[in-house]
């Protein structure tokens, strides 16, 4: 472990990552007028963490997580802080490409690149453990690579099917085993009260998120999708309580916007859902292109945002057994990740969200190299098209090369939605 405690060679703000973050942040703040006041908390947070290298969670054990399936409740209850390591830096994608196959997914490459270069996140050297759920093939194989870099890695087993009873039992066992593992890392035994407190903490955050989610259903979009991605991305690494407070402040401001009938996008901007591979700062390429082209992302179905915060855990009795089982179910059953065999849940979720948010179209991003999202695309597109919801499927990665072509496609998509609306009016 000693080797990650090495000093970073360059001052943080001079790294490529810092300049990439700075560029994106500038574009997010400056390219759009009237960003909500309360968003400044998040902008500042990114600036501090990614541009200035200010470390968070001092004096706390940090457990890095590699996927949305890791139950954060258990980590908090064991006295550690979970930090989601999924990374969106193109610079790190490049670093990762040095030792990973060129055709692998940008997200995995970037995450491994980050872990290898030991920069990007200021507290990367302080990771006490990395939990790696065996979700997709690439993450599964990344485990030993990460271990070779000198990190302590815990492989968490995930069933490939989620409907079956066997999967449920398997997963529950996996989660219980993980709870045992956490004790090894933090030295703190899981207790009823600490788990309850952790659940309450997360459910407060989810409550704030749900409020934000509801606010996005407004006919006048009160917040742009890129800002929501900034908010949810911040959940990856921020102090959960201050994150919750900041979201609550944002909600208050947005409620005011609702009263004032203020619209953050053009009044007639086509309302879009974003789904597929996650948009992770600073790879907000597609959300940004969408909103620059006059669309507005009103909802998303990605593991960096909605999937991570939407579903809330409930428990009938407040014993560790019942709570942990409840948590386990909640991290598996509603998960719409395409690594699971069936596509139905994701279809249903998208159709329901499209209805709930009055979305006119869906933008489906799939990272090149992400087989499962690409494979699921056809059936999702068909299901949505059958309900007269057009889908724009984009296969892309972290590189900025295809911006021009993407912008044409996104614009054309938005124009076609506008034309469709005109036609329907006639």
């Amino acid at each position: 472990m000693a080797n990650h405690k090495d000093e970073i060679k360059h001052p943080f703000n001079l790294t490529h990552q810092a300049s990439e973050a700075t560029r994106m942040l500038r574009s997010i703040t400056d390219d759009f007028p009237d960003n909500p006041e309360a968003m400044n908390y998040f902008y500042d947070l990114y600036k501090k963490v990614y541009c200035e290298g200010v470390s968070l969670h001092e004096n706390k054990k940090i457990v890095g997580t590699m996927c949305v399936q890791v139950p954060e409740e258990l980590i908090y209850a064991s006295g550690a802080v979970p930090v989601r390591l999924c990374n969106g830096f193109y610079t790190d994608d490049h670093n990762g490409a040095d030792f990973m196959p060129a055709k692998s997914c940008s997200l995995v490459k970037a995450t491994l690149g980050m872990l290898d270069s030991k920069s990007t996140l200021p507290f990367i050297n302080r990771l006490d453990d990395i939990v790696l759920p065996a979700t997709c093939d690439q993450k599964r194989k990344a485990g030993s690579m990460i271990a070779d870099m000198g990190y302590s890695v815990y492989d968490m087993e995930v069933p490939p099917v989620k409907e079956s009873e066997e999967a449920r039992i398997y997963w529950r066992r996996s989660i219980r085993k993980f709870a045992g593992e956490l004790k090894q890392i933090t030295g703190k035994k899981l207790s009823k009260s600490s788990l309850k407190e952790a659940m309450a903490k997360i459910s407060r955050a989810q409550k704030a998120y749900r409020k934000l989610y509801e606010l996005r259903k407004q006919k006048n979009s009160v917040i742009l999708g890129k800002d929501v991605f900034m908010v949810t991305n911040a959940y990856f690494f921020d102090e959960i309580e201050s994150w919750t407070e900041a979201v609550n402040r944002l909600n208050v401001e947005l409620e005011k916007r609702v009263e004032e009938k203020y619209s953050a996008a053009q009044r007639r901007a086509p309302r879009l859902l974003f789904t597929g591979s996650p948009a992770i700062f600073p790879n907000l390429k597609i959300p940004m292109l969408i909103e620059e082209s006059g669309g507005v992302i009103v909802g998303d179905e990605t593991c960096s945002s909605n999937r991570m915060l939407y579903d809330m855990v409930s428990s009938d009795e407040w014993h560790l057994n019942a709570m942990v089982d409840g948590i386990a179910d909640n991290y598996l059953k509603p998960c719409t990740c395409p690594i699971f065999t069936k596509n139905d849940d994701r279809k249903r979720k998208l159709l329901h969200m499209a209805k709930e948010f009055a979305a006119e179209g869906v933008v489906y991003q799939s990272f090149s190299g992400c087989q499962v999202y690409s494979m699921e695309q056809a059936s999702i597109t068909k299901a949505l098209n059958d309900e007269d919801i057009p889908v724009l499927f984009i296969e892309s990665d972290y590189s900025p090369d295809d911006m021009g072509q993407l912008s044409t496609r996104i614009e054309a998509f938005i124009e076609s939605l506008k034309a469709k609306r005109r036609r329907n009016r006639k």
């Binding site: 057009p390 296969e395 090369d401 295809d402 021009g404 072509q405 044409t408 496609r409 614009e411 054309a412 998509f413 124009e415 076609s416 034309a419 469709k420 005109r422 036609r423």
Partner: protein, 269 residues
């Protein structure tokens, strides 16, 4: 008399179309994009305008499209080439009956667009990053075979044997494959036909993603290549609608949109 302009700034050529209130094409022009495309675009526009003796100030509305659309500050607005292409195809293909599918092969991309009766884009597909199967591919072929781009069609029809299968889809690899085939003593006709079939196959596969219904309209520079058209028709199993000026369809669409936008604005005022 009111004048409307559509300017399509593509990766290889700048296309300009000028129409009047009746959507009649008054003038059109195709010039290479070059490296200073904005300068070239303005020069080309001015030249075109001068053909019918008007100036920039006489234009009622101008819409730019294509990759350089956003940088053309002189135009009133910009629109994506997919939308413009659809409108242009409806306009240019009107006499050929209902057009439901458009295949466009441009300099660097290939598009398949599905439209409804109103010219609204209902679905579209585009090739990913790579230039395989685009106009660029034909350019490279012609250059390697040391023949003119315009001659490709003639070579295609003068074939004696069967078209050679071209396996490489990448421009760069195809180049070396062609050289290899030449070295092996294959004649140019067979190679050209092989290239045409290779492009046709890829394009048809793309088009199938959006569905191939009704009349299929084929435009873009390569649509002037009769050999490619024949290969495409062969692959598709049906006849293609080829406009009179395949290159300017998108520019025409932009001009029609300019006209509509102008009257919409007038109405609102």
């Amino acid at each position: 008399m009111k004048y409307f302009a559509g300017i399509d700034i593509g990766s290889t050529a700048i296309k300009i179309a000028l129409i009047d209130e009746e959507k009649k094409i008054l003038a059109s022009r195709v010039t290479p994009t070059g490296s200073h495309f904005r300068k070239n675009a303005i020069t080309a526009l001015e030249t075109t305008l001068s053909e019918i003796n008007i100036s920039m100030d006489d234009l009622s509305y101008m819409i730019s499209t294509g990759y350089g659309r956003k940088l053309m500050k002189e135009s009133d607005e910009s629109v994506s080439e997919i939308t413009a292409n659809a409108i242009g195809a409806i306009e240019a293909g009107r006499q050929h009956g209902d057009i439901k599918t458009i295949i466009n092969i441009g300099g660097q991309d290939t598009k398949a667009i599905q439209i409804d009766d109103m010219g609204t884009v209902t679905n579209f597909a585009m090739n990913d990053k790579c230039a395989a199967g685009t106009g660029k591919f034909l350019d490279v072929t012609a250059m390697n075979l040391e023949i003119e781009l315009e001659e490709l069609g003639d070579y295609h029809f003068n074939i004696k044997g069967a078209p050679l299968p071209i396996n490489s889809t990448c421009v760069v690899f195809a180049e070396s494959e062609i050289i290899g085939l030449l070295a092996d003593g294959h004649n140019k006709e067979e190679i050209v036909a092989g290239i045409h079939y290779s492009i046709a196959k890829r394009t048809v596969r793309l088009a199938k993603r959006v569905g191939l219904e009704g009349n299929v309209y084929f435009d873009g520079g390569p649509a002037m290549n009769k050999g490619l058209v024949a290969a495409m028709e062969d692959e598709l199993g049906k006849e293609l609608v080829i406009p009179e000026h395949p290159q300017i369809t998108t520019a025409l669409g932009a001009a029609v949109l300019a006209l509509e936008a102008y009257y919409d604005e007038m109405e609102e005022e």
